[in-house]
Point group: C2
Chain length 150, copies 2
């Protein structure tokens, strides 16, 4: 397989990103592939925020992965900055290629470059394969993640 | 007890906030009450970021609670914005007063005002009382929270 590039997402990448968000047992019910208009203002907001890093992984000109890294300053832990990884997706054709590992390692390295002392993420309790994956990469399943829909 | 005010934290609140962060079985090992200098640049960074809301609860002129609300735009869920609640602390004197409930309800209402469709938080797996508290308030323990120290 060709070289992999990880770069900031551009507006032109939105269709490929949304297709990956939707190609997932949980995401399928939540996304709208037929109408991309709700995604455009969200993309603009991400692009304008220096603490948001929406990135894509590209192989041979094709978007094959996406994740969002959020940098969160805070007072806790002596003023530690943390990062939060969200919305990690790898294209179906690339699963098992090691892209997921390279992608999360990139996010951890980028967090270090941004001065973070902690990286965190939550994963739906049903995604047990993902849990093993994150533990292999050095994450600890130390927390319970709570959500409330508004 | 007197009226409760919830307002943005000011630099003058840092000693009271750090004292509450440290007065906790987990926080005690992580904070530095004797030297507040690491907290000042973190406070400035929070204050300058329109997506960060570090707030305090004040009763009779005294800071009795703190939490941090982070607004996170994103593409997932048709471009939904979510909020993340972090670093919730209630002064020991106020526990059982209902302040925790009012505080989280404030954070949920503020998330709604900011256009969020989802509120999320993680709680250390050892904080079982906190888990019951969040479930009573309408949160679902649907996720596993992973962390990695850098």
């Amino acid at each position: 397989m060709g070289d992999l590039e990880i770069r900031p997402a551009a507006a032109d990448d939105i269709p490929a990103i949304v297709a990956m968000l939707a190609d997932d047992p949980l995401g399928a019910q939540r996304e709208s592939l037929d109408d991309l208009s709700p995604y455009l203002p969200a993309f603009e907001r991400l692009a304008a925020d220096p603490n948001q890093h929406l990135v894509v992984a590209v192989r041979e000109g094709r978007v094959v992965g996406t994740l969002q890294l959020t940098i969160v300053p805070g007072l806790s832990r002596k003023g530690a900055t943390r990062s939060i990884i969200e919305a990690v997706r790898v294209h179906a054709d690339e699963r098992g290629s090691g892209l997921g590992t390279r992608f999360i390692e990139w996010a951890v390295d980028e967090s270090r470059r941004q001065g973070c002392q902690l990286v965190q993420l939550t994963s739906d309790a049903t995604r047990t394969d993902a849990h093993r994956f994150y533990e292999r990469l050095g994450f600890t399943a130390s927390h319970v993640g709570f959500k409330m829909q508004l």
